[in-house]
Amino acid sequence: MGPRTTVASGVRVWLVLVVWALAAALSAEPPGWQVASGDVHVLCPMTVGGSFEARTSKLSGTLALASGHPVALNGSLSVDLGSLDTGIGLRNEHLREKYLEVGKGEGFDKVTLSEIRLPDADGEGFQGTTPFTGSFRLHGTTRPVKGQAQIRREGSGVRVEASFPVLLPEYGIEKPRYLGVGVKDEVQVKVSFVAAPVAPAGVKP
């Protein structure tokens, strides 16, 4: 065996080691999840008593574990507000156009929840109920929110059910009123989704 053969063998060994190290590093990177399916229900109490729900299944987003102790998530969840449906056309029109002003475009057409923190959750394998905090962007305004989340493993994915209150005046939304009937200032948002595991590369902090 000559010197060139020895050098070539050494390079191959190094390549193998580098590839192994990269693979090991990648596998150690925190996992990510992409919303596979979900529903958002917004419970709107009416000023005359009773309440109605606005619903959509246009929920999307990708989340990744940024820190496990306690859990902090990179990425965001996003809802297409133009798809919110209250069951009747007039109410939909008022909700989308007059109050949420989805026609104004970016910052108004979608609502996003990011910077999610789960202070009582410990590690990526957490299951159970935990409070959460997040940054909520609605109607061009970003405000902190906090609520409760229930997390369950479902196969290789995760099922999440979360709820939190939103005070409409804090987001510069005009008081919804029409001919003496309106929606009270505080609405309840309920989010339910199943997220499937994905490579975390595309998840933005």
């Binding site: 009416m46 008593g49 009773g50 009747i88 056309g89 007039l90 009937v181």
Partner: protein, 376 residues
């Protein structure tokens, strides 16, 4: 009078009797679980400006304004009183006119076909700063002798705070169960809350996001107090729990003291409404009424299932059971089928077929009524 004759008389009286414009519980499918979303009075009657707007934009087949059009001010659209002819001159005063030219056919009646005005009522309501003053004046048919008179069967003053605490004083129907749009349904007569059975009283209410509580107290039915100088203390209570925006449970109770002619009564009812899918609403109410000295109570079971086939066109089916005091095998079965068509704001055409069958004798009555319901 024979039993069959009695049944025919009851059917004729029930269908001929005028009625207030009842609320439409079928709108639970639109996530409206309170009558007062669209009506000034709990249980129905004059539409609020919001209710009028909804009757045009969401109920009529062709009335809806084009997408993106800005709804006009109250009183200015076609949904307003007299098609908006008065503009916004009325301010916080709302007016409404309601009439129902009808054709009635009862196969067992000596005069099977009749054409008549079921009612012709003028309504007025003034609402400002939480206060409401409400009244009706209209034509009331009288059966003995067959004629009519001008009278008022509902008038009250009420207040509701922003927190949902309210009261009203005057003449009205006390809250009990579900006020179905078909005023002849079996749940009304046994309670003595039929067409003109309003009481004098005070009602206290608490309307919250998920609960509605209504309690009424008073000296009893208004007409006997006015015309016969007799009264019977009457108290009712109703608790409604909205299990979600399309599912409602209501528990009701009533106590009525005795008079020189009638024994005291007490009763309870349970009503459950659900809209499992869009355009479908199912309401079921069961009541039991005890009358002093009658032994076995009277039972009522009413179901009303409504399906919107297309915008403004509804089909309803309503099986009903009514037993008799002291005889749970007595009473009547009813099955009712109805088609409702609301082609344009203010116009409501309905056709209803009833089949009433006595449970104690072999006797069936078939009734058909067609109505043009104009609410201006």
């Amino acid at each position: 009078m024979s039993r069959t004759g009695t049944i025919v008389s009851i059917v004729v009286a029930a269908v001929l009797a005028a009625t207030a414009v009842e609320a439409e519980p079928m709108f639970l499918s639109r996530q409206y679980n309170r009558c007062t979303s669209c009506h000034y009075s709990a249980g129905g009657g004059l539409l609020t400006p919001y209710g009028r707007s909804l009757s045009r934009q969401e109920l009529s087949t062709t009335g809806r304004s084009p997408a993106g059009a800005t709804p006009g001010a109250p009183g200015t659209g076609e949904e307003a009183f007299l098609f908006g002819a008065l503009g916004d001159k009325l301010g916080p005063l709302s007016l409404g006119f309601d009439t129902r030219p009808s054709h009635l056919h009862i196969d067992t009646s000596p005069t099977p076909n009749r054409d008549f005005f079921m009612n012709a009522d003028l309504w007025a309501a003034w609402r400002a700063h939480g206060w409401t003053v409400y009244g009706e004046l209209g034509r009331q048919p009288t059966l003995n002798p067959p004629s009519s008179k001008i009278d008022s069967y509902e008038y009250w003053v009420g207040y509701e705070s922003e927190k949902g605490l309210g009261f009203r004083v005057g003449r009205f129907f006390p809250a009990f169960g579900v006020n179905f749009a078909d005023h002849t349904d079996y749940s009304r007569t046994p309670l003595q809350f039929n067409s003109f059975d309003q009481v004098y009283g005070v009602e206290l209410s608490r309307s919250g996001e998920r609960n509605l509580i209504q309690v009424s107290l008073g000296p009893g039915h208004a007409d006997p107090i006015i015309h016969e100088n007799t009264s019977a203390f009457t108290a009712t209570a109703r608790f409604q729990r909205d299990l979600n925006t399309r599912t409602v449970l209501a528990v009701s109770g009533i106590y009525r003291a005795s008079t020189d002619l009638l024994a005291s009564e007490r009763g309870g009812g349970l009503a459950f409404g659900i809209s499992p899918v869009s355009h479908l609403t199912i309401w079921t109410e069961g009541d039991v009424i005890w009358s002093q000295g009658q032994g076995t109570p009277e039972y009522v079971l009413v179901n009303e299932t409504s399906l919107e086939l297309f915008r403004g066109f509804w089909l309803k089916v309503s099986p009903q059971l009514l037993t008799a005091f002291g005889d749970t095998s007595g009473g009547s079965w009813r099955i009712a089928f109805e088609a409702d068509f609301l082609p344009r704001t203010h116009w409501h055409l309905s056709a209803t077929y009833y089949r009433d069958e006595s449970r104690s004798v072999s006797f069936v009555t078939k009734t058909f009524i067609a109505q043009l319901h104009l609410y201006l």
